[in-house]
Subunit: 236 residues, 2 copies
Amino acid sequence: MIDPRRLRELKRLAESLGILAPISVNIDWSLLDCALVHPTFSQTYNNDRLEFLGDSVLRLATTLFLRQEFNHRSLGEMAALRSNLVSDQTLAAIAETYELDLYLVASESVKLEPKARQTRLADALEAVMGALYLSTNDLNLVCPWLYPHLRRIAIALLEKPALGNFKEALQEFTQAHWKKLPEYRNREIDPILHIFQAEVWLNDQFWGGGEGKSIKAAQQEAAAIALESIKASLAN
Amino acid sequence: MIDPRRLRELKRLAESLGILAPISVNIDWSLLDCALVHPTFSQTYNNDRLEFLGDSVLRLATTLFLRQEFNHRSLGEMAALRSNLVSDQTLAAIAETYELDLYLVASESVKLEPKARQTRLADALEAVMGALYLSTNDLNLVCPWLYPHLRRIAIALLEKPALGNFKEALQEFTQAHWKKLPEYRNREIDPILHIFQAEVWLNDQFWGGGEGKSIKAAQQEAAAIALESIKASLAN
């Protein structure tokens, strides 16, 4: 049994997600409650397992979204978009639009740590997706509110001067900020299957890695992640 | 329109997957056909996009499976199991049980390359999962045949002396083969969010990498992947 006040709170969240009546009859409120309990609050009743599931739910929903709306793009661009759309940074930004932190039960000390905020929000949103998936065993409670965010963010990514070319975008960014180019360290991790790994280094620091069936694909993925890490570190 | 001979072939595959009548009325045969066309056969009509989707389908199905049957295990063990279950090696082994290569349309030269076989089979099986997911917009055509394989493989993994402890399993393996211990190279890739990356090196070669919220978690993942890469390289 969920405390009636908590249930009212969760219904308010469902309403802001646009999945209240009539579809909300399917929401498993106990799971949604659990999705919004941070591990610092309880070791045994928390959202870590729902987050483990939600991570896969998000990845599938995002891939289906890209297939539906951006299938005319190259597979490399779709992969770069996907790694950006499923990133903690993107997730945290989506979570902010619902003020998810207000619904999250966590220890007071953690709530005061602004730097852990991004992971906390991203994890909670993934856990919410896990809870909603389990409620119906499909994506019906997830896609309606997630897709508009993905659309908005994907369009913004593609509208950048580099048009989804993350290597170019990263280069522009590091040149503007430090008058330096990022360094790529590449290696073939499987010479038989031709799988490559690329790393982005800048100012003697590692910023992101990627893997792919060509050096270019691996670098694109690494650049997308590095760009986001660098921006996050500047925002803090 | 699919060629009637090809359709009979695909129906034979569906039968061996155990998803023929009555559930097969839902199968989108054109998608299934496309899932079994290797990029070497055609640049425009092939399985690369269905594989991109299937990768997420597999990951979600595997996570749901682990939640259903191994939820009593620690999250670290579940993560290690997942990375092993979704690996190319595991997928190729599953694909072999259905002789998937017989259904795959590819250039003759590629079929003669035994070393690319594992990736080819793994990619094709992922593409099949993509096609089956799109047929019903849920996992109903995927889980019935996938789960028994995952169960069998997960049990085998957990029955090993190291009981799913991949660091221990890797150590035993490298000591038995080369009387050497694997070297772990760790780094904190995000000092703020405490995300760690670990790499396994052995005989001056990189064998696998992992990421996690602790050095131990990152090493477990890296060890699971390295163990599988090393075994694959010895098998070739």
